[in-house]
Amino acid sequence: MERLVRKAQRGDKAAFVALIEQNQLALYRAAKAILHREEDVEDAVQETVCKAFFKLSDLRQPKYFKTWLTRILINCCYDLLRQQKGLVPLEILPEDGAEEERETSLDVQLVLDELGENDRLVLTLFYLNDISVKDIAGMLSISEGAVKQRLSHGRKKFREAYEEREQGKVVARHAKK
């Protein structure tokens, strides 16, 4: 990847395209953790690609391209949220009927929603996008301890909900028999 970054910094658009293609899944995942709506995700990633294109020559250390790109993306996502005035972050706004559902369902998706976007983002960046705890801490302006705490909390909640649901399925299968 570093070689591609250096080529792109010398003006090679094909190298830049290759870099974006290599990272488009990671960008999608990170943006989805913040924005949810597919069209917003697309807008934020398009904006990120554009900013990265014009700012890549400023990147001093090619090996941090992915971290740098993700940082731009996060800024773009928050910009988009800000533009959509009145939009309240997920952890503040309770979802319609969420309380009722919580009592009756063991939906893992619901648990993930409950985690709040910051925890989802940290889980996504660490487990899916392979970004280190240190880099996530720098990216989100929080301490490494806070990142680890969120990872621990998120993973625990996820595992509990997942296991409960899987157990529920087994019980349901036995009940059918």
Binding site: M1, E2, Q9, G11, D12, K13, F16, V17, I20, Q24, L25, L27, Y28, R29, K32, A33, E38, V41, E42, V45, Q46, V49, C50, F53, F54, L56, S57, Q61, Y64, N75, Y78, D79, L81, R82, K85, G86, V88, P89, V108, Q109, L112, R120, T124, F126, Y127, L128, K134, D135, A137, G138, S141, K148, Q149, L151, S152, R155, K156, F158, R159, Y162
Partner: protein, 602 residues
């Protein structure tokens, strides 16, 4: 937290991606990215080096040349003074020098103590900061504390707002939109760079908002100097992005206090490694070092083939800073530095120049020990475990009390050895092969497992990789000679089987210690399997394709053993539950054993 929480196991990742519904992006997203790329110009903007920088570089190169030439001629003068004195031009200079040598006693060697004494002059005590109140149109800022350690200006402040706002409030400013600027601080009229992209205000119980800011001074300042600080905070940003008018403008003095700082240019050497500069302040500790060649990480042959190309990292320059009690100080503390950059290639002087930044020493601790290691402790274990087999390449003590930086040997008490830089680059670091094969780290960078095998035998030998699940043969992946290759992937001819892809390649590199044959098995059928390469129920066996002889009974276990041998870890024990101590390859000589051992603590 449990150690497993930071383990990126594939099963968890798979479940997480599925539940977050981000396994694959939709087609519309891919089209949107493509459209964005298509809309961009044909060439990226390129940063041109300003002329003055090129000129400076040229001057520096010329100065370096002059220095080298001068040293060369001086060397010749020492060897044959009569000849050099007879040279036209420079000869006269040396005749003069010779005369002075005879007239005066030779100068004393560099007197470190006198230098230290100069630094140790008694610093005047700086009175505590008087809190300052800056009243604005939309609120009042009370700067409770402000201090400057010579390089950085720190401020602790509280904000009272006319109208209560829901947190978080921040000085977030869009770096691409100057109209969103929320905070600017000037020191003696020059803008100081704010560290950290945004500073969040935390709401306190009494309704005030508190904040901490750090700014890098435009230039280094001296102890006792008074800084004229001007603060401009026209607005803040709330979470929804709205600008909140504060209209706070004001100024106040801050006196520089360097009593807890040590900033020195140095030439302190240990085992070929030279510390060039140390900046130890209550904000952070930055160390610049020049490191000679210790060899390459790729030479361990423990990296998968796909990473060999990128893995040009060198050995010997991985720094760690600890307190005398062994507390490891975190590297690259935010917001003072991003990352330590380890260069892949040496600079023009043949040395690797590395700048390390660490978190500052805790209050009350007066010494820091800077140790450089053969391998990165993070390479050995992401959990920070650093076994004693990870050899030291140099050690220095930074003593804030005596204001000295010197080579030290605390590593001996920890049972570590020091690797001599004169022999390190020539050491054979490859582990013992099993029936001729070295098994590097399995490659899981794609969604499937790729097994690599390295062998010195460059002739084709038919082999098979057998995958066992719960000791039942689940799949057989065969090798194939090049003439039977039937597919083309990623620019290479390959053999495509039903469940796997096979390729053989030759490697020839000095870094890798000569010629190797690499065998690659990409196992596509493991993509959606619940059996991972390190799952206790799985076992991969390497078998001779013609005779059926088992060459390696458990490839993953062989990898663990070889990794343990190279890095001194306990991978085999941790995966296979046995008390199998890593068989660490001994280096024939360390600096502690050769005749010119590194100096005792000075």
């Amino acid at each position: 937290m449990q150690r497993n929480d930071l383990k990126r196991d594939k099963r968890f990742r798979k479940h997480l991606a599925r539940e977050l519904q981000v396994e694959q992006p939709p087609e519309s997203y891919l089209k949107a990215v493509r459209a964005a790329l298509d809309d961009l110009p044909d060439e990226l903007p390129v940063k041109r080096r300003p002329f003055y920088q090129s000129a400076l570089r040229a001057c520096a190169a010329f100065a370096a040349f002059l220095l080298v030439a001068a040293v060369g001629v001086y060397g010749a003068y020492l060897a044959n003074p009569v000849f050099v004195e007879s040279l036209p031009g420079v000869g006269q200079i040396f005749q003069e020098l010779h005369r002075e040598d005879q007239e005066q006693p030779s100068p004393a060697p560099w007197d470190q103590e006198s230098h230290v004494n100069q630094e140790q002059e008694v610093l005047e005590e700086i009175p505590p900061f008087e809190p300052q109140t800056l009243v604005g149109g939309g609120g009042t800022l009370i700067v409770q504390d402000a201090w400057c350690d010579r390089l950085y200006l720190h401020m602790e402040a509280e904000l009272y707002l006319e109208d209560q706002e829901n947190p978080p409030l921040s000085t977030y400013a869009d770096p691409y939109d100057p109209s969103t600027d929320t905070l600017a601080v000037y020191v003696d009229g020059q803008q100081a760079e704010s560290l950290g992209e945004s500073a969040l205000f935390a709401q306190k119980e009494n309704g005030l908002y508190s904040v901490s800011w750090i700014f890098q001074l435009p230039e280094e300042r001296r102890h006792g100097e008074t800084l004229d600080v001007t603060l401009e905070m026209p607005c803040l940003t709330n979470y929804s992005g709205a600008n909140l008018t504060t209209d706070i403008y004001g100024g106040f003095p801050v006196t520089v206090d360097t009593s807890r700082s040590l900033i020195q240019d140095l030439e302190t050497e240990d085992n070929g490694i030279t510390l060039k500069r140390v900046e130890a302040t209550p904000s952070c500790i930055t160390i610049q070092a020049a490191v000679p060649e210790f060899g390459s990480l790729a030479s361990t042959m423990m990296l998968p083939y796909s990473q060999l190309d990128q893995a040009t990292q060198r050995l010997g320059y991985y720094g760690q800073l600890t307190t005398p009690d062994g507390e490891i100080l975190p590297e690259s503390p935010y917001p003072f530095s991003n990352f330590t950059s380890y260069p892949d290639v040496p600079a023009d002087d043949g040395l690797y120049h590395v700048t390390y930044t660490f978190q500052a020493l805790p209050e009350g601790v007066g010494q820091a020990i800077f140790t450089l290691y053969e391998y990165s402790p993070a390479t050995v274990s992401s959990n920070g475990e650093n076994p004693a087999s990870n050899r030291v390449t140099a050690e220095f003590t930074i003593d804030l009390g005596t204001r000295r930086v010197y080579a030290s040997q605390n590593y001996l008490a920890a049972g570590r050895k020091k690797l001599d830089y004169r022999i390190s680059a020539d050491i054979d670091r490859t582990p013992d092969p099993v029936n001729g094969y070295i098994c590097p780290m399995p490659d899981t960078s794609e969604n499937f497992t790729t097994w690599c095998l390295y062998t010195r035998d460059t002739e084709y030998r038919p082999v098979e990789l057998h995958r066992y699940e719960n000791e039942e043969l689940a799949a057989v992946y065969t090798s194939a000679p090049e003439e039977e290759y039937n597919a083309y992937a990623e620019g290479f001819s390959v053999y495509q089987g039903n469940q796997h892809l096979f390729r053989e390649a030759h490697l020839d590199s000095l870094d890798l210690g000569g010629t190797w044959n690499v065998l690659l098995f990409q196992l596509y059928d493991t993509e959606n399997s619940d059996f991972f390469y390190d799952s206790p129920a799985s076992r991969y066996e390497l078998v001779d394709g013609e005779t059926g002889e088992v060459l390696i009974q458990d490839v993953f276990r062989a990898f663990c053993q070889q990794y343990d041998q190279v890095f001194g870890t306990q991978l085999e024990g941790s995966h296979f539950g046995e008390d199998s101590a890593g068989d660490v390859s001994d280096v024939e000589q360390t600096t502690d054993e050769v005749s010119t051992a590194s100096p005792l603590p000075r």
